[in-house]
C-alpha cells in the first residue's frame, strides 16, 4: 500500500495475524513463475538472430552473445548483463536457462509482449494498458495480475490474470454481471461469437449503434489469450481500440460536424444545407439527442467545426468518437428536412395536466422508459391508459390533436409532410 497513513496504522495492530493479512492484502506477492520452454526457445531464437553488440533487453537485465566467442565456443558464448551489476560471460545454454529461470517474470513478460502480442500498435497498446505495462514494474504487475486486474471498456469488464507460466489470461463479461457466478453465464471462447451477443439488446431489438449502452447481459468469455481479448473487445466495440490508440499517440484524426456533412453525397448531401451560418444550436441538439453518455459510450471529440465547440459535454467514455457516425448522419438528414419547415401557430385547449402529460410522454420516450411504466400506474403521464384516454378525448377521427388539422389545406392528413 502506498498510502503512508495506512502503513502507520498497521504498526499499531497488535494481532500478528491481522498484520500479515493487512500486508498481504495491501501488497500482493509476486507469484512463482516457471519459465516455459516456448519462452526460453524464443529467447534462444532471438539470440541466434542478434548482431554483435546487440542485446535482448528484459526489465533489469539484458542478454547477448559475446562477439569473439561466436564461432569459437558455440556452447558457452552467452552473456548476461544485469544492470548496475557484474556481467556474467561465457554462459552455456544450461547456464543461461538457469539464469533466465531465476528471472522468469521478466523473461515471460518479454515473451508475452514481443512474441505473443506482437507489434500491431492498437493491440499492443491496449494489452499493455490493461496491466499498466508502461508504468508499473514487472514485479508490481505480476503481483497485481495474480490478484486479478480489472479494467472497464464501455460496458465490458476485463479481468486480467497470469498463470504460473507467465501467460496472460483474460475474462470478459458485462459490467452488470460482475459478481455473478460463471456457471450462471453462457460461456464463449471464440471472439467472433461476440457478434451474436452484440446484434440484439436484452429485449431482442436490433442495435444499430454498437457503442449504445444496451449491450445484453448473461454471457462470459472466461479464458481468453491476449490476441483473443483484443479481438473480442474489437468485435463488441469496433475500431474503438484503434481510435483510442491514435488518441494516446496524439494522432486522433477528428472530423468535425461541418467537414463531415460537407463530405456527404447522394441523399445525405442535403444535410449541409442545415448549417446556415446562424450558429450551431441545431448541432447541440443533435449531440444532446444522440451522443449523450446515456445513448452512446463513445466520448464525442468532434465539435461544430475546428474553431467552434459545441455547448454540450462530450461525455466520459474511455474511447473517443472522431466524427459523426452513420446513425447521426442518417438522423441529421431527417432533421434537415423537418427543420426546414416554418413554425405555425396552432390553437387548441389543454388542461394544465394535459400539457404536463404531453411533456411526460415525450420524456418517457426520449429516456426509453415506456417499457418500465406499469400498466395500471395511472399516476404516470406516459401510462398507456392515460395516453389512450388523452387520444380518445383530444384527437379527432383523422388523428388531429385538438381537432386542429396539421395543414389547414389538407385537413384529413395529420401526417402530411412525411
Amino acid at each position: 500500500m502506498s498510502d503512508p497513513e495506512s502503513a502507520t496504522d498497521s504498526e499499531f495492530v497488535t494481532d500478528p495475524e491481522s498484520v500479515t493479512a493487512a500486508e498481504s492484502g495491501d501488497e500482493p506477492a509476486v507469484p512463482e513463475i516457471d519459465l516455459p520452454s516456448d519462452a526460453f526457445d524464443a529467447v534462444l531464437d532471438a539470440l541466434a538472430g542478434l548482431a554483435p553488440d546487440e542485446w535482448i533487453r528484459f526489465e533489469g537485465f539484458a542478454v547477448g552473445v559475446a562477439g569473439d566467442d561466436r564461432a569459437a565456443d558455440a556452447d558457452a558464448h552467452y552473456v548476461l548483463e544485469p544492470a548496475g551489476d557484474d556481467s556474467r560471460t561465457g554462459l552455456n545454454e544450461r547456464d543461461l536457462h538457469a539464469a533466465l529461470a531465476d528471472r522468469a517474470p521478466a523473461v515471460t513478460d518479454w515473451y508475452v509482449f514481443e512474441r505473443v502480442v506482437g507489434e500491431f500498435g492498437p493491440r499492443r497498446a491496449f494489452l499493455r494498458w490493461i496491466e499498466d505495462a508502461d508504468g508499473a514494474t514487472v514485479a508490481e504487475r505480476y503481483a497485481a495480475l495474480a490478484a486479478g486486474i480489472e479494467r472497464a471498456w464501455g460496458q465490458l469488464r476485463v479481468i486480467a490474470t497470469v498463470t504460473d507460466r507467465g501467460e496472460r489470461r483474460y475474462e470478459v463479461r458485462h459490467a452488470d454481471d460482475v459478481g455473478v457466478p460463471r456457471e450462471e453465464l453462457t460461456a464463449h471462447d471464440d471472439p467472433l461469437e461476440a457478434r451474436e451477443i452484440v446484434t440484439l439488446d436484452g429485449k431482442g431489438r436490433y442495435r444499430p449503434l454498437k457503442t449504445a449502452p444496451t449491450l445484453r447481459r448473461g454471457w462470459v468469455f472466461p479464458d481468453l489469450g491476449p490476441k483473443e481479448l483484443y479481438e473480442t473487445v474489437e468485435t463488441v466495440y469496433p475500431a474503438t481500440i484503434a481510435n483510442w490508440h491514435r488518441e494516446r499517440e496524439g494522432e486522433l484524426d477528428v472530423s468535425h460536424w461541418r467537414e463531415t456533412m460537407a463530405r456527404q453525397s447522394g441523399i445525405y448531401g442535403v444535410i449541409r444545407t442545415w448549417d446556415r451560418g446562424e450558429g450551431h444550436e441545431h448541432v447541440n441538439w443533435v449531440a444532446e439527442a444522440c451522443c449523450d453518455d446515456s445513448q452512446c459510450l463513445k466520448r464525442r471529440e468532434w465539435e461544430y467545426d475546428e474553431d467552434t465547440d459545441l455547448d454540450v459535454d462530450g461525455g466520459e467514455g474511455v474511447f473517443p468518437c472522431r466524427e459523426p457516425c452513420s446513425v447521426v448522419v442518417s438522423a441529421a438528414r431527417k432533421w434537415t428536412r423537418l427543420e426546414s419547415e416554418q413554425p405555425r401557430t396552432y390553437e387548441f385547449d389543454l388542461t394544465p395536466s394535459e400539457k404536463e402529460q404531453l411533456e411526460e410522454i415525450v420524456d418517457a420516450v426520449a429516456d426509453g422508459r415506456t417499457d418500465e411504466i406499469r400498466e395500471a400506474d395511472t399516476k404516470e403521464g406516459a401510462n398507456r391508459y392515460r395516453a389512450r384516454f388523452l387520444r380518445a378525448k383530444l384527437f379527432d377521427d383523422a388523428g388531429n390533436l385538438g381537432g386542429v388539422p396539421t395543414d389547414p389545406d389538407d385537413p384529413d392528413d395529420p401526417d402530411d409532410g412525411e
Partner: protein
C-alpha cells in the same frame, strides 16, 4: 501479412443485412487464405471510414460486396476509405469490367488493392446457378425449368441492369435451363408479369441482391404475387397464374458467394493457395437435401 477487407452496405434497421457478409467472411477465414479477414460497413461498424485502421496486414485487398458498379463502388467507398488519387477511370470499366486499382489509403498511409464489386465478376454466374440448386434442393436443376434473374433496372443505376443482363446471357449460353430472362423491378420486362415471360411450368426466381431485406422480402414477393402481403409469407414453390415460382431470396446469401470474394482478391494478386477449390467444395449443395 495478407489481409482481406470485405466492405458492404449494412443496415440501421435490419440485422439480416450484414449477416451474409459475416457468413462469407467466416467461410474465407476457415479456408486460411488470408492472415486476417475484416468487415467494414456503410451503416454498421466498423464504418468504411475506420475499418482500415483495424487492419494489421500490409498486403490489403478490399472487396466490395455490392452487386454492381455505381455510386457506392465508384464514389462512396473510395472516398470513405480515403483512396488517394482515386478516379473511376482507374478501373477502366465499361460498367462490368472493373477489376482492381492499387492506391494509397491515406487513412493508414498504406497501399490497398481496391477490387471491383462481386456482382459483376464472372464467377457470380455460378453463384446464381448454385442459388437455383439450393432453392430447389436439386444439384442438377435445369431441364424443364426457367430461370429469372431480377434486380433494379436502369432507373436507379445503368450498371445494375448491365450486371443482370450479363449473368442472364451467360446462363442462357450454357444451355442448362430451358429459358433464362433478365427481369426488373422498375422497368420492362417487369418481374410483376413473370408468368407471361416463361413457357416453363417451373421458374426459379433469383434476385441479384447481396442481402435479404425490404426489396427481396417484401417488394418482390408482393410484386410477383407470391403473397398479397409479405407478412403472410409464401411457399417455395408458389404457383402464380399456373407457373410454379421457386423464389430464391437474395443470391448474396448463397454460401458460394465467398468464392466470388476470393476470385476478386485473386484477380488483384492475392495468393490464395488452394482456398478457391476448398471454398467451392465446402459450399456445395448436397443432392437430395
Amino acid at each position: 501479412m495478407q489481409s482481406l477487407v470485405i466492405v458492404a452496405h449494412g443496415s440501421h434497421l435490419n440485422p439480416e443485412s450484414s449477416a451474409p457478409t459475416y457468413a462469407h467472411a467466416d467461410t474465407i477465414r476457415a479456408s486460411g487464405a488470408f492472415d486476417e479477414v475484416k468487415t467494414g460497413f456503410w451503416k454498421e461498424e466498423p464504418h468504411f471510414r475506420e475499418v482500415l485502421r483495424t487492419v494489421e496486414g500490409d498486403d490489403v485487398y478490399v472487396v466490395p460486396l455490392f452487386v454492381s458498379e455505381g455510386y457506392f463502388t465508384e464514389q462512396v467507398i473510395p472516398r470513405e476509405l480515403r483512396l488517394e488519387g482515386w478516379d473511376v477511370s482507374e478501373w477502366d470499366s465499361d460498367g462490368l469490367s472493373a477489376d482492381q486499382a492499387t492506391l494509397v489509403a491515406s487513412d493508414v498511409g498504406r497501399e490497398v488493392h481496391y477490387c471491383g464489386p462481386v456482382g459483376t465478376h464472372a464467377a457470380m454466374t455460378d453463384v446464381i446457378e448454385r442459388r437455383a440448386e439450393s432453392v430447389t434442393g436439386d444439384p442438377d436443376v435445369g431441364e424443364g425449368f426457367g430461370l429469372a434473374v431480377v434486380g433494379h433496372g436502369t432507373e436507379r443505376n445503368e450498371n445494375s441492369a448491365k450486371a443482370i443482363e450479363y449473368h442472364a446471357d451467360r446462363i442462357r449460353e450454357r444451355g442448362r435451363f430451358d429459358e433464362v430472362r433478365a427481369l426488373y423491378m422498375d422497368e420492362d420486362p417487369e418481374v410483376d408479369d413473370l408468368p407471361e415471360f416463361f413457357e416453363s411450368d417451373d421458374v426459379v426466381l433469383v434476385p441479384l441482391f447481396i442481402a435479404d431485406g425490404y426489396h427481396t422480402q417484401e417488394d418482390i414477393p408482393e410484386d410477383v404475387g407470391l403473397c398479397e402481403d409479405h407478412t403472410e409469407g409464401y411457399d417455395v414453390p408458389e404457383t402464380v397464374d399456373g407457373t410454379r415460382i421457386w423464389y430464391a431470396g437474395a443470391v448474396g446469401t448463397e454460401p458460394l458467394m465467398a468464392d466470388v470474394i476470393l476470385e476478386r482478391a485473386a484477380d488483384a494478386g492475392a495468393d490464395l493457395g488452394d482456398a478457391l477449390a476448398t471454398v467451392r467444395e465446402t459450399t456445395r449443395v448436397a443432392a437430395g437435401d
